[in-house]
């Protein structure tokens, strides 16, 4: 054991739709000697409410989240957008309630999964659970909000059994945008179609991203097309030494 503790912020989409991602994260971290806990009664970081302008309601969720993770040494988040919400928006949202300092403390201890592996644990080599060619999509909040484009690529580049191929337009939005996907579904779908075309053109077997929203959008487009490309979260690929 490294003496490190990590609390998993599983996220609403992760909890409800991609539980295997959370499981992979737990297994990967444990194998690296990190003690993992999962605070109970998690729901949502509040980003969907925040993005649609319901800031009072988002602040209530922020408050709840700050309390839930009050004792955590490190908070690990599978989605770049949720990690961004905690790190960048919580302090502002909770200023009025006088909780800015607690929010800053949580922000400082919160990491997106790939950032934690590379930046904190300094671990970069894994065996791929899915052999073959992989390609990586930069989620907008991870890329532009958390300024992170390298850690996932480092991990994928060193993945034993996998070959990383570049995705043209990797930094272009997938078209999810939360409620945007259903408010302007035609536009969202056309953006997605271009992304899917780029993905298929790489010849990859697997599309990797670090955000549940992106994976729902891109995965949904790929399976609708009956594409042979699978959309997976980074954690699922790293969970390879079974």
């Amino acid at each position: 054991m490294t003496g490190r503790r990590a609390s998993l912020m599983v996220t609403c989409l992760g909890d409800l739709f991609f539980p295997e991602v959370g499981i992979s994260i737990v297994r990967v971290l444990r194998k690296l000697g990190v003690a993992v806990d999962v605070p109970t009664d998690q729901t949502c970081c509040g980003l969907p409410l925040f993005n649609s302008g319901y800031h009072g309601e988002a602040a209530a969720l922020a408050r709840r989240t700050v309390a839930l993770f009050g004792d955590s040494q490190h908070v690990i988040v599978p989605s770049g957008s949720c990690a961004w919400m905690v790190k960048h928006e919580y302090p502002g949202l909770l200023a009025e309630a006088g909780l800015a300092r607690e929010a800053e403390k949580l922000a400082a201890r919160t990491y997106e999964f790939s950032q934690f592996l590379v930046g904190v644990l300094g671990v970069t080599e894994f065996t791929s659970a899915v052999p073959g060619r992989v390609t990586y999509h930069d989620s907008c909040h991870l890329l532009r909000g958390l300024h992170e484009s390298q850690s996932p690529r480092t991990l994928l580049g060193k993945l034993r059994g996998a070959e990383l191929v570049p995705l043209p337009g990797a930094d272009e939005c997938c078209g999810f945008g939360g409620s945007f996907a259903v408010r302007l579904p035609e536009v969202s779908s056309q953006i997605l179609a271009k992304k899917v075309a780029n993905v298929e053109a790489t010849g990859a077997d697997c599309l990797v991203a670090c955000d549940a929203g992106c994976l729902m959008q891109m995965g949904g487009g790929l399976t609708r097309k009956k594409s042979r490309v699978r959309a997976l979260h980074l954690a699922e690929l790293l969970d390879g030494d079974r």
Binding site: D15, P19, G177, G220
Partner: protein
């Protein structure tokens, strides 16, 4: 058009744009090209990042002393023999310009490209007063002949193919026109040359106004800006108050990044620094110069939530990288200014109700903020607009109720867990093969084109709670 009852006018216009094959191809080619040009320009320009920060700081500092800088500008323009006018509203601005035109006996006015004059719908007012406005920027000339509005801030006719332009020229100019850009440009040059030489009045906007020196700065590539401000007897500039910069030294910072952001050029072909009407000894130049300072909603934002948007240089970089603009083009937005900054400017000029749908025409991806030469945080202001739309009850009540319900559910873990269990039951008729490909009602907006993963048989937290081997 699918989703009928739910489709707003904006969504319908967007849908129409998606089906326009010409537009789609034009948008892909043009935006991709602009993105590449801009990237190349900044790659070879390491000082660029520091200059962008400096440009942003200058804009902010200018706003902090805007009254003083405007006083200085006004004093200098008047000292140089120019006249300054104050337009609180678009209607006032139109009236001022029409009045100048009438008083000086102008019958025809040549115009250099000016989004400010588009914004106030000046051309219609001039025509109504019996004065013929002639757009001279090639893109603006094309859309004027077509009776359309600009679809991009710097390339107004980007949505037209050369075939469409040739057809337009043949029809409107009653002369044969080949579908070749060189040939079409030559036609425009010939037609407009006469207008420049005959016009009584030249109307421009201003990219900047230097307070210290009373200088109006015009940035163009074609030369029409120079023509319009040198040949006619009278020159009128319509300018938003936020365009003022304190000094020539400040100006250089902006010139170093403006063209690079817009088209990838180090400088546009012509940058003209105009200090008032013509002076003694000059062969050319206007006898009269008028500066019309335009508020139109800008001043209210100096202390308002859209203040940052006042830094906009009108370069169009945000349009080119926006995933939404790139699919639907400028006309679908429905207002003078399209794209990410366009949504903010529309809110500024027309009020929050005008953007109740447009505020959601964004995935909040942040590419616009990245590309903006003065680092305007557009996504943040879009979220603030959404908030204003909700708080002012401009959003439909069904939507507000749905979000409040969602908030309630997420606040209470038992409700959340119940919703998960309910979801699992309700989805049964629609789930097969590990995915959901069809959902009723509103949820069909997703499943029409995409699959959805089903709610997991056991959520992560359910598994964590019950699987001992997961916990150890």
């Amino acid at each position: 058009m699918s989703g009928g009852e739910l489709a707003t006018p904006f969504r319908q216009r967007a849908g129409g744009a998606l089906k326009d094959a010409f537009l789609q191809e034009a948008l892909t080619i043009a935006t991709t090209k602009f993105i590449g040009l801009r990237q190349e320009a900044f790659e070879g320009f390491p000082e660029g990042e520091a200059l962008r920060d400096q440009a942003r700081a200058i804009k902010e500092a200018t706003l902090q002393q805007l009254d003083r800088h405007l006083e200085t500008l006004i004093g200098n323009v008047e000292r140089l023999g120019g006249h300054v006018h104050y337009a609180a509203t678009p209607a006032e601005a139109r009236a001022i310009v029409v009045d100048i035109a009438r008083r000086t006996g102008a019958r025809m006015a040549v115009k250099s490209k000016s989004m400010a004059t588009e914004e106030i719908h000046l051309n219609e007012a001039l025509e109504a007063a019996g004065i013929t406005p002639v757009e001279t920027d090639l893109g603006e000339y094309i859309i004027q002949l077509a009776h359309e509005r600009p679809s991009h801030i710097i390339a107004p006719a980007i949505h037209k193919t050369k075939g469409q332009v040739a057809e337009l020229f043949s029809r409107e100019l009653k002369r044969p026109a080949e579908a070749d850009p060189e040939a079409l440009t030559r036609i425009a040059r010939g037609e407009l040359r006469e207008k420049f030489l005959q016009a009584d009045l030249g109307i421009t906007g201003a990219n900047f106004a230097v307070a210290d020196t009373g200088t109006i700065v015009l940035v163009t590539n074609e030369g029409n800006g120079r023509m319009v401000t040198s040949l006619p007897r009278v020159h009128v500039t319509v300018m938003g108050v936020e365009k003022v910069v304190p000094s020539l030294t400040d100006l250089m910072v902006f010139l170093a990044i403006l063209a690079k952001s817009a088209t990838g050029q180090k400088l546009s072909v012509y940058t003209s620094l105009i200090q008032g009407p013509r002076r003694a000894g000059e062969l050319e130049g206007p006898e009269e110069f008028h500066l019309v300072l335009l508020d139109g909603g800008r001043i209210a934002q100096i202390g308002g939530p859209l203040r940052e948007a006042l830094s906009c240089l009108r370069c169009g970089a945000c349009l080119n990288v926006c995933p939404v603009y790139r699919q639907i083009g400028g006309h679908a937005y429905g207002y003078t200014y399209p794209g990410p900054i366009g949504i903010l400017l529309t809110a500024m000029l027309e009020g929050a109700p005008a953007v109740k749908d447009l505020a959601h025409a964004s995935t909040l991806c942040g590419a616009c903020a990245d590309a903006c030469p003065v680092r305007i945080d557009i996504p943040r202001m879009l979220i603030d607009l959404r908030r204003e739309v909700d708080e002012k009850r401009i959003a439909p009540w069904t939507e507000r109720v749905a979000f409040k319900l969602l908030a309630r559910l997420l606040q209470h873990p038992r409700l959340y867990r119940f919703a998960a269990r309910a979801g699992r039951v309700l989805q049964r008729p629609f789930a097969s093969d590990g995915r959901i490909s069809r959902l009723p009602l509103f949820f069909g907006e997703w499943t029409r084109t995409r699959d959805l993963p089903p709610v997991a048989p056991r959520t992560f937290q359910e598994r964590w709670a019950s699987d001992k081997d997961l916990r150890t």
